[in-house]
Amino acid sequence: MRSGSVPVHEPTAVDLDRLATYPHVVVSWIDDDGYPTSVATSFETEATAGAVALAAPAELPIPTDRELSVMGSHIRPQPGIGYDERRYLQLWGRATADATFTPTQAWGWDETEVLFFEYSERSVPQSRRYLAALSREKGRTIRPRLSLFWLALRTTRLPFLTATAVPVLLGIAVAASHGAFTWWTALLTLIGGSFAHLAINVTNAIFDTLSGADDANTTPTMFSGGSRVVIYDLLTIRGLTWVALGLFGAAAVIGLLLVAVTGSMTLLWIGVAGIFVGVAYTAPPLKLVYRGLGEFAVALGFGPIMLLGAYVVQTGRLALEPLVVSLTIGILVALILFVNEIPDRRGDAAAGKRTLPVRFSPMAVQTGYLVAAVVALALIAVGVGVGLLPWPTLIALLGLPLAYRVYGGLKVNYDSPYTLMAVMGRNVNLTLAVGGLLLVAYVATLVWSALRP
């Protein structure tokens, strides 16, 4: 174990080479009064001998009958901000009368090697132990807190609602281009679809927590690694379950209302299929994402189910045109999951969650991404070519360069969860851009139809 990582380990020549990069060390011991004493001093490492020659401080003899700590520490001040480039290395051992120190244990941290966020995630169990002990000591429960707003946002992963807004709005737009539009059922569809999506997010958090997949992941990002509200002890599994049930209930009420208004049994079955796929995504016995079928489930849920569902609410029937558009959007939303699974793959593998990035090589994942993105956009071109889609939808092909940039970013940042965040953000933007362009195309089609003599 090298000192760039956190755990205590037996010191190696690498540790002594690292220590040599510090301009001075702080030597500490416990004095006869029971107080720690520390003094800075210069030093020379003797890597081959596994020792450190300390310069003896004046009138403060380094003891030879007890254990010493020898630490090198570094920061880079950032005036007006604070500091960065934190690193330290601590060695324990004993010294001889000539102040030669022989270390027997080491630990350290270098934020360029283990980023602060990862260091923090690895330390979550310590926080839980500490707060549990504090609760026992104080005789009351002391837990971490967040304001209700931020807790709700984190628990439901609210920002991911764009993945629902895009297909629902497109389904409504395609229906409008076919002459069917009722504003209040459109609004209810958006709200109901959002509740269903949030309920599924919370359900997935429950099962990913219970399976240990989120716990095993020490490199979560804003796009990946789950909501972690149970791991952080912000909520309990029971609390999450009530949240999920509440959201499912709200979605069901709105869904049944829409079924009643439209009288469409097709809509009922679409809704049932949506909830089934969403829950089966992580819930046993199917656990689709654990079997490498997560992308398929997401493509189905955020493609045909969401988009065709929104179309059916307006028109009362199924059609081929919204199906083609839904396949494009479904594939793109599935690609959001696909990319977001890349930084999670080690934790997922440890928890038996065999997602596609766990199963396939980096090159296969990168190539697979590009092929899928091209297929998603090619479907639009084919749809226009066979006369199913209006020609303005070709504008969605402007998303191709963005898809290629994501592909390039994956190649460079595949093994770095935190630099991959920008790529994950760009990938979300691809879905928003293509969805937005398709929406613009349908609005343009509507306007053109209205103005046409």
Binding site: S28, I30, G34, T37, S38, S120, Q126, S127
Partner: protein, 162 residues
């Protein structure tokens, strides 16, 4: 008010990092780099519950030492000091106590903390914190950081009387 020598107070005012040494479970010294804050009397450090082993050590044995050694972390001031004292962990409410007690002092040294606080949702446990309040009892001071020369030793008035 405080009794620490003026040059040591000057170090505390600017130090971005000091080395806090606590006594571990097995009785050996464990050193942690931390940002020290000073109100003219007591020294305050603080720790997230994520990195709270030091708090457990202090609660078991409150004797601590804070070394100020790195000129880079002290705006180029080459002086050095080690302050020994007794620490108390303030942890009644790790969610809010620290904001009330030390956020103002922390902000002065690390203004970026306000930006981190706005993003509290991203790393909620980092902002569950305990405050370590050190009552200084003795001090070693090395002018120009020359530890090859004898330090100037000073004790707290009460400790001296005792």
């Amino acid at each position: 008010m405080g009794w620490l020598p003026d040059p040591v107070e000057a170090l505390l005012e600017v130090a971005l990092v000091g080395e806090l040494t606590v006594i571990g479970r097995d009785g050996r010294p464990i050193t942690h780099p931390l940002i020290p804050l000073y109100d003219g009397e007591k020294i305050y450090l603080h720790s997230s519950t994520l990195f709270s082993k030091k708090l457990e050590h202090i609660k078991r044995d409150p004797h601590v030492a804070l070394a100020l050694t790195d000129p880079v972390a002290m705006k180029g001031n080459p002086d050095r000091a080690t302050i020994g004292g007794t620490a108390r962990v303030i942890e009644d409410d790790p969610h809010t106590d620290w904001e009330r007690l030390i956020l103002g002092l922390w902000r002065k040294k690390e203004p970026a903390i306000d930006d981190f606080l706005k993003a509290r949702v991203a790393l909620p446990l980092f902002f569950e914190r305990a405050v370590i309040e050190i009552t200084p009892e003795r001090c070693l001071y090395w002018a120009d950081g020359r530890t090859d020369r004898a330090p100037v030793a000073t004790n707290a008035p009460r400790a001296e009387a005792a």
